[in-house]
């Protein structure tokens, strides 16, 4: 146990943890957090308002504790899904793994430490999901200090069970796929199937909750005992009921009993994890960095093709593409997400029983000029969002990691390197938009000119978000990572670019809904406005970019 703890401290310091970021001074970090708070304030306040509405609705029939149970169960579900990816990174794809294996440590020592590191990381998304609920509930119910003490304990212990399940699933996956030569490819396919399963699950959830958007309807849903969704989620994590009861009964002694039972169940899961982990971990992790080699001579014709000459910008962009497509972490997070978002957006609509009919009606609306104008604004906002969500440009510098210095000694102007690095993100953003237009065309049957104008109006915006992304990454690159996953997933830069999307898209939507501009009017305005902004940013990048690049020290 002592060794586990020592190892945990070492891993935290070494960059596997959350607090290892060496970037920026104290006030800079504070400013970052403040900026995030401002950007996500609308989302959070909406969440809190929803919780208040639900609380009032449920309290009327004395069922308000169901809210706690549901909130915790949903948080657990979120932790389970996100957890699988974190676990894969921390347990398997972290560079420290190869250094830890030769040490005289039991697998459970390594696993225990890595589990604690992942647990620490999970508190951040859990805080986003759960704290507003716990605090709002406490305030609304006028709970005493004991409630907040119990809430803190429940908050700390809650991620343990879903994370154990995520760990076991990930370890099982790695154990089963630890065969054959092309393990990387095998696991990539596994990842794609996993994401497809999550999508399928989402459709099921949506089908179950179809037509229950308003707070009243949600209240009704929670009150009706035989609801499929709720019982499914709570049945997945039965322990959340204990946690919820502990908080609801925090005023009386029974609350303490529930709390102890909750902690006991969590501890039992942790113990099971240690036992099973001892059997599963080593066989999956050994030889993780090995790559298959064919050792065959390249034929004359192939050799000619592969050694063909390209301009430095093209060669650099091609290199960026190859690295993006061949690195599993980059492929899953950056490339695949660009194809997933357009699909994800239609799931909520299509998974309803009457989905197609509703959507067709929207398509009819788009025949009208004013509605089409708003439609373009919505398409524009979605394009910006998808471009930012693929985080290709916002991590273009970060992804270089410790090899960033190569950019410095090549006899290629920095401006050309920056240009080459904006290419993949822009192409993928446009691809997302094309895919969304195609999906919209199939589902909505809008006028063709609407689709074309929506696409046209979004192009400069897509370039704009990519330029903003590369500027963010040039100013704050995260080069000090020990697994590729961290370069793209645990990188604040994506959140900054999301904030830029909110700042750009929100006023656009607001003005479109208020002013009801014509289809051509808004398309042309967006196109010209963002084309001009792109020119300004390009100019800034050409003059200041090389200077910023020069300042980066790897």
């Amino acid at each position: 146990m002592n060794r586990t703890w020592l190892l945990t401290k070492m891993l935290m310091k070494n960059g596997s943890g959350l607090w290892s970021g060496k970037r920026g001074s104290g006030w800079k970090k504070l400013l970052m957090i403040l900026l995030m708070a401002v950007a996500f304030f609308p989302l959070m306040s909406g969440y809190v308002m929803g919780v208040i509405g639900l609380y009032d609705g449920l309290a009327a029939s004395g069922q308000e504790s169901a809210l706690l149970g549901m909130g915790m169960a949903i948080a657990c579900l979120g932790i389970l899904f996100f957890g699988i990816f974190y676990v894969l990174t921390v347990y398997y794809y972290s560079q420290d793994v190869e250094h830890l294996l030769p040490l005289p440590l039991k697998p459970s020592d390594i696993l225990g430490a890595k589990f604690l590191v992942t647990l620490a990381y999970e508190y951040v998304p859990t805080a986003f999901l759960l704290l507003p609920l716990l605090i709002t509930y406490g305030v609304k119910s006028g709970a005493g200090p004991l409630y907040y003490l119990y809430a803190a304990v429940v908050f700390l212990a809650l991620p343990v069970i879903p994370l154990v399940i995520a760990s076991l699933l990930a370890m099982l996956f790695m154990r089963v796929t630890s065969v054959g030569k092309s393990r990387d490819r095998f696991r990539l396919i596994g990842g794609v199937i996993g994401i497809a399963a999550v999508l399928g699950f989402q459709i099921v959830i949506h089908r179950n909750s179809a037509g229950r958007d308003s707070v009243e309807q949600l209240t009704q849903m929670i009150l009706s005992e035989n609801n499929a969704l709720l019982s499914l989620v709570t049945r997945l994590f039965p322990s959340t009921k204990l946690g919820a009861m502990a908080l609801a009964e925090s005023g009386v002694l029974a609350g303490l009993g529930y709390l102890l039972a909750f902690l006991l169940v969590s501890a039992a899961f942790a113990a099971a994890f240690v036992l099973l982990g001892d059997r599963l971990y080593l066989k999956g992790v050994m030889g993780i960095a090995e790559t298959a080699a064919k050792r065959r001579c390249v034929s004359g014709e192939e050799f000619d093709k592969l050694t063909g000459r390209r301009s430095p910008v093209l060669a650099f962009a091609a290199k960026e593409w190859k690295v993006l497509l061949r690195t599993p972490a980059y492929f899953l997070n950056c490339v695949l997400s660009c194809f997933l978002w357009p699909l994800l957006m239609f799931i909520p609509v299509l998974s309803r029983p009457d989905g197609f009919a509703t959507v067709r009606e929207w398509g009819q609306f788009l025949q009208e000029d004013a509605a089409a104008g708003i439609g373009v604004a919505v398409a524009f906002a979605l394009a910006l969002f998808m471009t930012s969500a693929n985080s290709v440009s916002t991590t273009a510098i970060s992804r270089d990691g410790q090899t960033f210095f190569v950019n410095k000694y090549l006899p290629v102007p920095y401006a050309q390197i920056i240009a080459a690095k904006v290419v993949p993100g822009t192409v993928l953003g446009i691809l997302s938009m094309l895919l969304m237009c195609a999906a919209a065309g199939l589902v909505l049957h809008p006028p063709v000119q609407f689709l074309l104008l929506a696409l046209l109006a979004s192009l400069p915006g897509i370039v704009f978000i990519n330029l903003i992304g590369i500027i963010i990454d040039l100013r704050m690159p995260k080069l000090d990572w020990d697994s590729e996953q961290k370069a793209v997933k645990q990188n604040w830069n994506t959140l900054f670019s999301m904030a830029a999307v909110v700042v750009t898209a929100a006023p656009t939507l607001f003005l479109a809904f208020q002013g009801k501009p014509s289809l051509y009017g808004i398309s042309l305005t967006l196109f010209v406005l963002f084309a001009v902004l792109d020119l300004v940013l390009c100019r800034a990048l050409v003059t200041k970019g090389p200077e910023w690049m020069d300042k980066i020290q790897s």
């Binding site: 298959a292 080699a293 690295v323 410790q402 210095f405």
Partner: protein, 241 residues
């Protein structure tokens, strides 16, 4: 030819990694840069190659100032960094072609050079595999090939022999000799004193950012009035600091 004049670099404003270093490496010479760990060798090389900017002083490669005409200066040299773990997701051939593109090597020239280098370094069968599947020595060889493919005037090699098998090490040393003998420059850092002793026309010994000695091996012997091996001298040079 490499010229460093009064070059200083400090980290965090206090620790001087390199302190007022002045050094000239003329054409036609293999120049060995020696020193213990943390002496300032890699920092010096990073400044010559434009990776790190010096706090003061000027650096010229073949007369081109890396500070004021960086692209011209960078075209003069090829650089082998101390860690060969670069672009691991690329295949060997893709990496070498990428480097050829960066330096604008014409198609027919590169083809012939890649084929010849691959043969000399025994890498022909490995070119189509990802660099990730290479051993440390093979990675070292592919990085060296990426440098030699553009036929630079000046070679700058940071610990180039680490991890190479004896045959490849011999080949590289042979090539370094040929390069210097054709009137061009080879600058390399090493810990292996025997190599420096046998291979270098001149050596410099650096410790704590300061050059303690610069000259031929023979001069060094005279300098210390001793006939002992360079290793002994080296220890003597550094242990009293």
């Amino acid at each position: 030819m490499i010229e460093l004049v009064d070059v200083t670099k400090s980290y965090n404003g206090t620790v001087k990694a390199v302190d007022r270093l002045t050094l000239t490496v003329p054409r036609g010479e293999i120049f060995g840069f020696l020193g213990p760990n943390g002496a300032g060798k890699t920092t010096t090389i990073k400044m010559i190659t434009g990776i790190v900017r010096p706090d003061q002083g000027t650096i010229r490669v073949n007369g081109k100032d890396i500070g004021t005409e960086p692209l011209e200066a960078k075209r003069q040299f090829g650089y082998v960094p101390d860690s060969p773990d670069l672009f691991l997701r690329l295949k060997g051939l893709e990496y070498v072609t990428f480097m050829a593109d960066m330096y604008g090597v014409p198609q027919d020239v590169r083809k012939e050079r890649i084929a010849r280098l691959a043969e000399r370094f025994d890498m022909t069968d490995a070119l189509s595999d990802p660099i990730q599947s290479y051993s440390h020595g093979m990675r070292q060889k592919i990085v060296i090939m990426g440098v030699l493919v553009h036929h630079p005037e000046v070679w700058i090699l940071d610990e180039p022999l680490t991890g190479l098998d004896p045959k490849s090490a011999f080949t590289l040393k042979e090539m370094m000799r040929e390069h210097a003998d054709s009137g061009r420059t080879v600058f390399f850092s090493t810990h292996v004193l025997e190599v420096a002793e046998k291979l270098c026309d001149r050596v410099a010994i650096i410790n704590k950012g300061v050059i303690l000695f610069c000259g031929t091996f023979k001069e060094m012997q005279e300098h210390f009035r001793s006939s002992e091996s360079l290793e002994r001298l080296f220890l003597e040079l550094t242990k009293h600091e």
